[in-house]
Structures are given as structure tokens and as C-alpha cells.
Symmetry: C2
Subunit: 189 residues, 2 copies
DNA sequence: GTCTATAGATGGATAGAC
DNA sequence: GTCTATCCATCTATAGAC
């Protein structure tokens, strides 16, 4: 793994575990196993570090939206399941998303953050809309997933594993009879 | 208005508008129209300021849950409407909630923040559950509102006014026939 | 109760060796 | 490409006048 990625991983971890205030260049560099000077070679400023995180978020977010469209059990279930992130075990998008939420509205880079959030949210919304057929229900499902993400911000992880199945059951009247076992998806590779 | 409240108002505004990093004691005090020393008389430390904000959040949150139960158009509609906060015009709970979201997971006080969020979320959940009858649908509705709050974190305010009516319409199959025009609420003053 | 002035600590960033 | 050492700005908090 490249040093650049190790730095971003460490930055994410610190943002999630100790918060933005304690995610200093010193803390990030030592956590990543490089010196402060070494970090600043890869990211010439703290803003560059933030930008690097947001670029990673954008790439992973767009990839995720594409993956949702091809998921076996449908975009809706994939969306809700992915929105209830077990942050410890995940090393991918969920972690990056929650880390980025921590710095959203924090610094100068918030304009870029806003744009990236808007772009990937649009990608997710489009995937849900294309599966559900209409924008209103797509927006509804998206908001449920967003609500799950908010729990990561408020720190309500002690609420136990999120009952995604219960949510899908409660949503059933809205989703119609498009249960996960619908066989109308051609199997492509 | 007491100086203490003016300080908290200024702190909220700075958290929302410029973020936690720039919400320094200098900025808060000058924005509130007092000196730094004056601020530190009312709040002996920055942590005390954070605690003061969280106490205000707790009080307003519990009041809001009580108000939801008595609302004319029902707890669900009140919840969704209140979760789509026009931050500029509101001076009450929504503003405090979003401000607190900005510092959640930031400092040492995050343990208290977590507890306060959990408490008021429980109050909202109970109000929705008592109106809807079962916890699964209550949780679903609550998550939709939480999703609207997440937009305040990601900064997606340019998405236009949130179509609460569209959400209620899309949720109708879940909510059953408990339309807002139910006349079973006695008018008290 | 509110102010000014200042101490003490820490963060971001630069310079330059290796 | 990575390191150490250092500078400078800024933030929290204290001391003490009014």
C-alpha cells in the first residue's frame, strides 16, 4: 500500500475515533507511520489532505452507486444495508463517508465537500429512482438510509445492529411487491 | 435577553455558519457583544460552553417531543416538518440541533453529546410510536426525519425546500388512513 | 459583571539535511 | 521521498484593574 493511502486511512480513523479537532497533522502522520514532513510531502497542506479525502469519497461513492445498480438483492436493500455501517470492520466507502461527515461544514474546503456530497447523493438517488420508478419513493428510501448515517454522527452506535430487515418490512407497502426475489434482472457479467 | 443566552445564540450561529474550528471564544464573544473575559465569566471554559449548548438542546428537545404529542396535524407531520429546518429563520430547536451536530464527535464533551442525542431521540421515537402504534413504523418515520437533518450536515440546502407533503404522500401506504384531518384533538390553550 | 493584557500550549507550515 | 528542527499564528485560559 502506498504511503499516500496509509495517510488517508489514518486520517479517516482519527476523524471517526477522536474527531476533527484531534486529527492534527502530528496525530495523522504518527498514526500513519510517517513523519510530519513526510506527510506534507504527499499533502502539501492540511487543506490538501482534506481534498484528498474528498476525492477518495467521490471515487468510492460513484463506484458504489454503480454497484448498487447491479446488486443481486436490488438497489434498495443494498442502499439500506450499506447505510448501516459497522465502522470497525469496514475499510471502504462507509468509513470514508462518515469521516467526511465529520469535517463537513468545518473548514474552507466545505464548498468542495458540499459539491462531492451532492454528486454522490445524486448518484445514489438515480440508482434508487431507476429501480423504484418514481422520484418520490426514491427520495423516501434515500432519506431512510441518510437517517442511518446520521446515527454515525450523533454517535448512537450502542443502539445495536440496525434492523434493516424490519425497515424493509415496514417499507413494504411503499415498495410494492418488488421483493428481493424478483427475477426480472438479467444476469450479466 | 440574558447575556448567557446571547452567548449561546452566537455560538450556535457560528457553529452553523463558519464551523466549529472558527467558533473560537474570541469569535463567539465578539459576535455576542461581550468581551472574552465576559464570556468566560458565564462559561468558565470552552467545555462549559459546549455543555451549555447541550443542556439547551436537551431542554428544547424534550419540550419539542411533548409538543409533537399535542400537535393538531399529528406527530408524524410535525416531526417531518420540523426536520426540514430553514436554519435562517428558526431560532429554536432545529438550530440548536444542527449546531450540536457540528460538534458531535469533536471534543471531550462528545460523551455528553451522545447521551443528549440519545435521550431526545428516544423522546421523539416514543411520540411517533404512540401515534403510529408500532415501533417499526415509528423508527421508519424517525429515520426519514433524521435523513432530512443529515442534509444540514452535508450542506445540501440548495436542494430547495424539502417536499414534506410529497414525503407524506409517499409514506401514506405505511401510515394507513390517519390523515392530518383527524379531529380527535381537543383544543386546549 | 465586564474589561484588558498576557501567559502557556499547540497547530500548521517552512527549511534544509540525508 | 522522508526526516528533524524551527518559525509563526492562534487558541484557551488566567490575572488583575475597573
Amino acid at each position: 500500500m502506498t504511503a499516500r493511502d496509509r495517510v488517508l486511512d489514518a486520517y479517516e480513523s482519527l476523524l471517526i475515533e477522536v474527531g476533527p479537532a484531534a486529527a492534527t497533522l502530528d496525530a495523522v502522520s504518527s498514526s500513519a507511520g510517517v513523519s510530519k514532513g513526510g506527510l506534507l510531502y504527499h499533502f502539501p497542506s492540511k487543506e490538501a489532505l482534506v481534498t484528498g479525502l474528498l476525492e477518495r469519497l467521490r471515487r468510492r461513492g460513484l463506484e458504489d452507486a454503480a454497484r448498487m445498480r447491479e446488486a443481486e438483492d436490488g438497489a434498495v436493500a443494498t442502499w439500506l444495508r450499506g447505510s448501516a455501517p459497522p465502522l470497525e470492520s469496514t475499510s471502504g466507502l462507509s468509513r470514508t463517508y462518515v469521516a467526511a461527515l465529520r469535517i463537513a461544514g468545518g473548514d474552507e474546503a466545505s464548498e468542495l465537500a458540499r459539491a462531492v456530497f451532492a454528486e454522490i447523493d445524486e448518484g445514489w438517488f438515480a440508482a434508487l429512482r431507476d429501480e423504484l420508478g418514481d422520484p418520490a419513493r426514491a427520495r423516501l428510501v434515500q432519506l431512510v438510509g441518510d437517517g442511518l448515517y446520521l446515527a454515525a454522527v450523533t454517535g448512537a452506535e450502542d443502539a445495536g445492529p440496525v434492523p434493516v430487515d424490519d425497515l424493509l418490512a415496514a417499507l413494504a407497502p411503499v415498495l410494492g411487491r418488488s421483493t428481493p426475489s424478483s427475477p426480472d434482472v438479467s444476469d450479466r457479467d
